[in-house]
Amino acid sequence: MASILAVDDSASMRQMVSFTLKGAGYTVVEAVDGVDALNKAKTQKFDCVVTDVNMPNKDGITLIRDLRALPNYKFVPMLMLTTESGMDKKQAGKAAGATGWIVKPFNPDQLLKTIKKVLG
């Protein structure tokens, strides 16, 4: 089953994402911010990255840009978790190489549906 890197500085959101995806059979690794995520992505190849945007240390958009620069992550789907008010964030995310976004607030079903969309 596909492996997913879930990045969020908020523990509750991270747990929710992780729990939902694990429940659907995916392998999930959690990261608390962009720096943590980048380190983890370098030691293990993930099939998909789901990241929050607003995070300390390294925000989600910079993370996506950095990941895209890695040969291993050129085509890997990367989704950002963003709020409805963050239209400019979506644009910035796309420019950095994000595949798509999941709009907060979302529920587990929406999350799973979107993940299935990119992982098949």
Binding site: S10, M13, M16, A24, L81, N107, P108
Partner: protein, 699 residues
């Protein structure tokens, strides 16, 4: 798939309260003259997280409220709005409001809607009143603005649509965003019967081909009664990375024209005939009827099991501490297996090994105990962190200028102590603010800096943690204290008091020196309550003060309430534990030192002091006591909150750490006893409450 969202609530509350603390600290530390972007960003991020979490976990009132805060902060962050004191004050008030809301939700109580909407109104006034541009426009801007370049034809959802024709021409770098046309077609195929014609026209010569780029374009037809929004959803992510034309099959229209006109990047102005010549046809079978997309809104709230929420307190532990613990357990397991190996065929020549193993076991058990206790240790900053706000608010209210200095915030102390310490400290800091620090004018007149300083300091000393509340205010006036105490009938006119005793008058019940009771301190809960609280934690409190220079109140507390270093003693066949910290010395006395006062008991002279003697066997009615004459047994000199006495016992046994078990929970409160413990041989020993014993001896 239904997931019980309630299981994440506790974590959400914890991190939200943490976030609120971060916001509060951040707001208080903002230097209005020179605002640091990162500071605002940190505050914004905290608000943003709370908003995101509360929305996801179904607390819409919280997320609505935070949304307004976030908008305000966002404008500050972007430099569209000046950071002003009124704005900071409104935000601080909003933090309070959020705290109340979250606490209410956590306790499953009604949120005070009226007060919330009041706070919200204040925020909105701040937001709309002073903004350069109308923030309404910013926040209510339609979420989806369709870019001109992607000429999505928004057709109306009409009954009886039979399908869609989609001209889809990805830009070369579409794949580099992780999007995949095949995946999208698969999604489309779920909606209805899909026919895809691919156009190879754009594929360059083999030698010019970049395999990482997309050179194909498609002409898709999908049959079925499909709402436009579902088609849009599928192309939502790639709108800007492709030329796209979507048209209803029912509406006659020239999709090719739209396609080519909106796709100038299509090479060699391919006419439609050419594209058809080069197309291969591929029919994707409809795999399933349209998937039910409408996701149910989170219904977690109703299903929430009560178990998680109430009273369950959790603790955030540094992973390093857990690792140490796991290491210790590993060591313990090794020792255990080694011991069982020794015991399997035990012969006397293995005695050394056995002894070795046992001493290892002892060492490991002790470090395991230390590691476990360590988990309960929290930095004192948990308590200190609320004071910047308190001082800020109160000094504004009192028109005083006060700087708060925090020292030793990382000093660790048991979680229980941390929780119980909060209220007494608030009281002490309030006192310093209200009674200690003078008005700015008075300070200047006294030759002091206009701004007063209150220092909160924590440090370890021995097995204790010491917390000091220090101010450079006017200090305690001994004469005034004395006069007041006489007035209130707490002491007689001719009572002689040392400086220390005079200061301690403020701890007496019914003593308040404030000329008028203010609403800041002196609410009737006096210093006596503070002292009682500290004593109930096994600590004590002392005052050092100098008139005109300031006062320092020091609280001494044991690091933990669960384990105690004790000296076990024997009185007859009973065993008692004296807290090691209370023991000053143990001596044998002879008749010449003893002094009997008729009707007032016995005292003995220790160097230049006369100390009362407490005969343990009499107080606890131990019939088997061996020593009945004072010269036969031992006198242990103990100190209980500054009062000393000598405990008359049979013998000193060993020193050991004991686990405190509550006597009240299992029996009832006994005067002179603070708890009980179970000794190595299984018998129960009472732990002596030294201050209580001293009181008892005075009666």
């Amino acid at each position: 798939m239904s997931i019980d969202m309630a299981q994440f609530h506790q974590v959400f509350f914890e991190e939200s309260f943490e976030g609120l603390d971060i916001m509060e600290t951040g707001l208080l530390n903002l230097d209005l003259g020179d605002v640091d972007d990162e500071d605002i960003n940190t505050i914004f991020r905290a608000a943003h997280s709370i908003k995101g979490g509360s929305g996801t976990f179904g607390f819409s009132a919280v997320s609505d409220f935070t949304h307004v805060m976030e908008t305000l902060l966002d404008e500050m962050r972007d430099g569209r709005r000046q950071v002003t004191q009124p704005a900071v004050d409104v935000l601080l008030a909003s933090v309070d409001c959020l705290k109340e809301m979250l606490t209410a939700i956590q306790d499953e109580q009604e949120v005070d809607v009226a007060s919330v909407s009041e706070y919200k109104k204040a925020l909105e006034v701040e937001l709309n009143g002073a903004s350069v541009e109308t923030p309404e426009a910013v926040s209510t801007e339609p979420a989806e603005t369709v870019d001109e370049s992607s000429s999505t034809v928004q057709s109306v959802d009409e009954e009886g649509e039979t399908g869609w024709r989609i001209a889809f021409s990805p830009h070369a770098d579409l794949l580099k965003t992780g999007n995949d046309p095949v995946r999208m077609f698969r999604e489309l195929a779920v909606l209805g019967e899909l026919t895809a014609k691919v156009d190879f026209q754009g594929v360059p010569d083999f030698y010019d081909l970049d395999p990482e780029e997309c050179h194909l374009s498609w002409d898709l037809t999908i049959f079925g009664d499909i709402p436009a929004s579902e088609i849009d959803d599928i192309f939502d992510w790639v709108e800007d990375d492709c030329d796209l034309a979507i048209q209803s099959l029912k509406e006659p229209g020239d999709i090719e024209n739209q396609f080519t006109s909106s796709a100038p990047s299509t090479p060699k102005d391919a006419p439609s005939e050419a594209s058809i010549e080069n197309t291969s046809e591929k029919k994707v079978e409809s795999i399933a009827p349209p998937a039910p997309v409408k996701a149910k809104p989170a219904t977690a709230k109703k299903e929430a099991p009560k178990a998680a929420a109430k009273g369950s307190s959790s603790i955030r532990v540094d992973t390093g501490k857990i690792d140490t613990l796991i290491n210790m357990v590993g060591e313990l397991v090794i020792t255990q297996s080694m011991l069982s190996l020794v015991g399997e065929h035990f012969e006397l020549n293995k005695l050394d090994q056995l002894k070795n193993g046992l001493s290892q076991l002892e060492r490991h058990t002790r470090s395991l105990q230390e590691s476990v206790m360590n988990i309960r240790m929290l930095p004192i900053s948990f308590v200190f962190s609320r004071f910047p706000r308190l001082v800020h608010d109160l000094s504004t209210k009192l028109d005083k200028k006060i700087e708060l200095v925090l020292v030793g915030e990382n000093t660790e102390v048991d979680k229980t102590v941390v929780e119980l310490l909060s209220d007494p400290l608030v009281h002490l800091v309030r006192n310093s603010l209200d009674h200690g620090i003078e008005m700015p004018a008075d300070r200047v007149a006294a030759g002091k800096p206009e701004t007063g300083t209150i220092t909160l300091e924590a440090y370890h000393r021995g097995g204790n943690i010491v917390i000091e509340v220090k101010d450079d205010g006017k200090g305690l006036n001994k004469d005034m204290l004395r006069t007041k105490a006489i007035e209130k009938g707490l002491i007689d006119e001719d009572t002689i008091l040392s400086d220390k005793q005079t200061y301690e008058l403020i701890f007496m019940a019914g003593f308040s020196t404030a000329e008028q009771l203010s609403d800041i301190s002196g609410r009737g809960v006096g210093m006596d309550v503070v002292r009682r609280n500290i004593q109930s934690l096994g600590g004590n409190i002392e005052i050092i003060s100098e008139l005109g220079k300031g006062s320092t109140i020091a609280i001494h507390l044991p690091l933990t309430l669960a384990i105690l270093d004790g000296q076990s003693i024997a009185v007859g066949d009973e065993r008692f534990i004296i807290p090691l910290g209370a023991i000053i010395e143990s001596i044998n006395i002879d008749e010449s030192m003893i002094n009997r006062v008729a009707g007032r008991g016995e005292t003995f002279r220790l160097r230049d002091e006369y100390l009362p003697i407490v005969r343990m066997h009499e107080i606890f009615d131990v019939k088997t006591a061996q020593a009945k004459k004072l010269t036969e047994g031992l006198i242990v000199v103990v100190d209980g909150q500054g009062m000393r006495c000598g405990l008359f016992i049979d013998d000193l046994l060993g020193q050991q750490q004991v686990v405190i078990k509550s006597l009240e929970a299992n029996y009832r409160k006994v005067e002179g006893v603070s708890g009980a413990t179970i000794l190595g041989d299984g018998s129960v020993a009472l732990i002596l409450d030294i201050p209580g014993l001293v009181r008892l001896s005075n009666q």
